[in-house]
């Protein structure tokens, strides 16, 4: 009986998160209809993520294979959804446990320390929980210590990163009502600092005319399809028709095959996003409800697009210069012996755009340009360094995208190495 509970119920991450949603819904005194549908959807969300991972890994394998054959170095596509989905079969249970206990640590810290932030960006909580689970486990930890230390680290991340940004968020939004809770913080912080040192905030990006035609890239599915098509076809041209048609495509035309693989990748990301949306739909309101009761004097830390409307031009400029830095880094990384990080439109759009907004508020256009360029370098080099430290954990081909995942992962692994645990 105990074995069934421990292994087949609590050991299955989808059931585990369903259980958390169930408890959250009961604590909120929801109707029984809401409790049943909310619990079922949470479990389903987790299963959808797994299904998306299956689709995604097929396309990633093809990409890695082609890239390796063409350039004799490994090409890695940083995509948070992808790596979290891929890691769930092995690290699902510890990810789910660290996520929920990390939220509790967040509430405790917000209640009793001066870091009064409640981190409401649920998908980033999930991604960070996964990063922490993976790095601690690679570093040699397991069992209860892994969950306890992991939850404390996650809880700390959930209050410290918003706190670092808050002075700049105040400048951007003109209020102190909310904070930014998004694990690209280090990129935004560096951007704001660079803006302060090298920029001139009198010359704002918002005084210049920027074409709005890039707005369609805000559509994640379109942005992923476009980048992946572009990269797949370029890599396919270098890999060569013969190799692809003989070894990968089963005879069908290599360009058509690459196009289909690119769209398959985008479709997989779409599936995973739908799963993540379902997974966090019940957990975030429960977390928010409990936090508001236990720690009333707190600020919500929100997803980063909440600052975009305050400087729409900086959003476009930031994306362009971050992506440019990503492209340049792609050529620099193999020179210093690191794996090639293929720049994705999605991470560069979200974090580059935000870096643009932060750079602009402290340093105007020059701040937005230099700051987002720095962000682009950061989200190219940090994932590459993290990959070296992670070693062989079995999901090469993709990795975590945003800056803070790199910082936290590198710190955890380096500290464990220093302590001699790893």
């Amino acid at each position: 009986m105990l074995e069934i509970i421990m292994k087949d119920i609590l050991g299955v991450p989808s059931i585990l998160v369903g259980l958390f949603a169930f408890i959250g819904l009961i604590l909120q005194r929801k109707s029984s209809a809401d409790i049943i549908s909310g619990t079922l959807k949470t479990v389903m969300g987790f299963i959808i993520i797994g299904a998306g991972a299956g689709v995604l890994i097929g396309s990633l394998d093809v990409f890695s294979n082609m890239f390796n054959h063409a350039f004799h170095v490994q090409g890695v596509i940083p995509n948070n959804e992808a790596i979290v989905a891929a890691a769930q079969s092995k690290f699902g249970t510890s990810t789910a446990l660290i996520m929920v206990f990390g939220m509790i640590v967040n509430i405790i810290l917000a209640r009793f320390t001066r870091f009064k932030y409640i981190f409401l960006t649920g998908h980033h909580t999930l991604f960070m929980a996964c990063l922490i689970a993976v790095t601690l486990s690679v570093g040699g930890m397991h069992g209860a210590p892994l969950i306890i230390i992991g939850s404390i680290i996650l809880g700390l991340c959930m209050v410290l990163f918003p706190a670092i940004l808050q002075p700049f968020v105040r400048q951007i939004t003109g209020t102190n009502d909310f904070a930014v809770g998004h694990f690209g913080t280090i990129g935004y912080f560096v951007s704001a600092k660079i803006g302060k040192w090298f920029g001139n905030k009198e010359k704002s990006t918002e005084e210049i005319k920027v074409p709005k035609s890039l707005g369609f890239l805000r559509d994640t599915s379109v942005a992923v399809s476009l980048t992946m098509t572009l990269f797949f076809i370029i890599v396919a041209l270098f890999t060569g028709q013969d190799y692809i048609e003989k070894n990968l495509s089963g005879g069908s035309n290599y360009i058509v095959f690459s196009f289909m693989q690119a769209i398959t990748f985008a479709a997989a990301v779409y599936i995973i996003l739908a799963g993540v949306r379902m997974l966090i739909a019940e957990i975030v309101p429960a977390f928010k409800g409990i936090a508001e009761k236990v720690a009333p004097e707190t600020k919500p830390a929100l997803d980063v697009p909440t600052v975009f409307p305050f400087a729409p031009n900086a959003v476009i400029i930031g994306f362009l210069f971050s992506f440019l830095a990503g492209l340049i880094s792609m050529f620099l990384l193999p020179v210093i012996g690191l794996k090639v990080i293929v720049p994705g439109l999605v991470p560069h759009f979200f974090t580059g755009a935000a870096a643009g907004v932060f750079g602009n508020v402290t340093g105007g256009r020059r701040g937005a340009i230099l700051g987002s360029f720095a962000n682009g370098l950061i989200i190219s080099f940090l994932p590459a360094i993290l990959l070296v430290l992670l070693g062989n954990v079995g999901f090469e081909g993709t990795t975590f995208g945003d800056a803070d995942f790199g910082v936290v992962g590198i710190l955890i692994l380096s500290i464990l190495k220093l302590l001699g645990v790893a």
Partner: protein
């Protein structure tokens, strides 16, 4: 009952927060509506009476037929109230 769809790029973070705010605004107004959130791609194919989001996002949904509400400050309950008042 009217259906409100809140939209953002990924359909994960900001639309979710806006959904919570729209629900709060509706409760304060004493009104009732079905509120949900999604990403831009899915929003093109779902049925709803009102689409809410940041200007550059929902602007792409404007086809002359959909009822579009664009928000300047996603966190402002008064703004949400004033913009959906006449539509609910």
């Amino acid at each position: 009952m009217k259906k409100i769809m809140v939209v953002c790029g990924n359909g994960l973070g900001s639309s979710f927060i806006m959904e919570i705010n729209v629900k709060k605004a509706l409760t304060e107004m004493g009104k009732n509506a079905e509120v949900d959130h999604t990403d831009l791609t899915s929003a093109r194919t779902v049925q709803a009476d009102i689409f809410i989001g940041a200007a550059d996002i929902v602007g792409q949904l404007a086809d002359g037929k959909r009822e579009i509400v664009s928000l300047e400050n996603m966190m402002s309950i008064p703004e949400i109230k004033s913009k959906i008042e006449t539509l609910i």
